[in-house]
Symmetry: C2
Subunit: 304 residues, 2 copies
């Protein structure tokens, strides 16, 4: 039996749409397969960069089933299942567990701002109780710049105390290394799996007891990120880290999701891949050209 | 035929739950009837104070049908239908139009922050096109303290230009009178219906060409708010306004939704009414007692 838990490089797989904004499942399967064949150890489908909150609950469940039916092992899947309504979160989570997903990555309910730790604790506890399945491995998703509702150390501690076998780890997308470090110092020794929310912090995270990263740019650059993960103890690790950060900086000059889709569209020769759902907008033709030039200037490529 | 459009005092009706967090439809019907019998001119069900984003899409549709089946005229209903996913927004909006609702109150998609006016325009336009029904009357919901995604004047202007018969008005819950004033100056003369997001701005809104207010505290104090609406041109209107603001200030010392439910629970002698869904939490026994004392000290009561 394979050990439980995730580590390495997970991509929050981007979600392809047709021009009419409907989902393109065959492109999704193709992209997910490519990610696993090119360095990703797992897929955090339905993340922020997947436009998950622009999908319906039914669309998410259908896409997840499509991946598993296409032969992608459910054990490498860590779908996002955190919604504003705990009823939706419980439904998506139960569904993910039922089809065998290795874990779920759960946003806090993000409509109400300034809610208490007690209220967030009740939300996660209620979801766990409603799912009521020992196979559940729950990863908390801390992304205050977007959700505006944080996963505090106090919340993690309370959840770990009550649900030690279920609350498995966290993705820290705060962009604040001091916060990741505080999580590592407090929880990593107990086996709590801490993922950096960007490959920019991958090396630091590994050196302090983390298990990897779940990063937007793993959608387009999985091989090199994986290379650092495999070689983080090597002498040239800092150089590899700098190289990764420089590539990410090129992408990050643009709105991230539109940029990732533009890159996949460009290297795959598939114009429709660039489609995003509102409220996001595609890159302009000028932006796409500048981005492609900057990437090829760095020797970047995606081979399908 | 009744004239189209809303005016007066609308309550974002609070949504009752059983202790197990399931919806209590019979209490909801009872509360909505009470609101209409006691001063409300309409019901902005599924607003922020209704915990709408803590409900599933199916729960919202079922509750709306329950109201109409119970004999509440659909024309007085302005349900909230704005979700993170435009597919959900379109589904809820089409449903509301189909059963005859006088309008819908639509949040912007609120997960992604810092999105462009173009992206928000595309979201609302796409929903309107997908609904594809001339009966649709869309009210934009500006509540930046919670949604963190604003409805700018530029966005309103673009939508009004393209969909003049459909985009009918706005609720301004910014809490910033200067913003409401700017909306009034720019759009009120054209028949755009501008609601203050709190009765604290009701008199000012009426004096500058607005049509009323949609306010949380209309859930518990509809009669006196309506009285000001009916008498805003009277000599004692400023005194009535001060009185309303003072009552609201008592409630606003506590988390609003939990406080509203505590008040209905207290005056109705129905403990279960106080239930909220996580991430919200109920008031403590001490808070409930202090709130009830402060309200009765002001001569406040609710008679069922």
């Amino acid at each position: 039996m394979a050990p439980r838990g995730f580590s390495g490089v997970l991509a929050p797989a981007i979600t392809p749409f047709h021009k009419d904004l409907s989902i393109a499942p065959e492109r999704f399967v193709h992209h997910c397969r490519w990610l696993l064949a090119n360095g990703c150890t797992g897929l955090a489908v339905f993340g922020t960069n997947s436009e998950a909150n622009s999908l319906t609950v039914e669309e998410r469940m259908l896409l997840l089933e499509t991946l598993v039916e296409a032969g992608i092992p459910a054990a490498v899947l860590m779908p996002g299942t955190g919604c504003c309504s705990l009823m939706d979160s419980a439904r998506l989570t139960a569904h993910a567990v039922r089809i065998g997903c290795g874990g779920v990555l759960m946003l806090p309910p993000f409509y109400y701002k300034g809610v208490s730790v007690e209220g967030l604790y009740r939300n996660f506890a209620e979801v766990i109780e409603r799912v009521g399945d020992e196979r559940l491995r729950l990863y908390l998703y801390h992304i205050p710049p977007v959700a505006q509702v944080p996963i505090s150390l106090e919340l993690i501690e309370r959840l770990l105390q009550r649900y030690p076998g279920t609350v498995a780890g966290v993705k820290d997308s705060s962009g604040d290394w001091n916060n990741t470090k505080a999580m590592l110092e407090r929880f990593a020794a107990g086996g709590f799996e801490i993922f950096a929310g960007s490959e920019v912090f991958l090396l630091a995270n590994m050196r302090h007891g983390g298990v990897g990263c779940i990063s937007a740019t793993a959608n387009v650059n999985p091989g090199r990120i994986r290379h650092l993960f495999d070689h983080w103890r090597d002498a040239d690790a800092d150089g590899l880290q700098e190289e990764l950060a420089a590539t990410r900086a090129v992408v990050q000059k643009y709105p991230m999701i539109a940029a990732l889709k533009a890159i996949v569209s460009h290297y795959g020769g598939d114009a429709e891949w660039a489609t995003v759902r509102p409220p996001l907008v595609e890159l302009t033709a000028d932006q796409r050209r500048c981005l492609a030039e900057a990437l090829s200037g760095r020797g970047f490529e995606m081979v399908f």
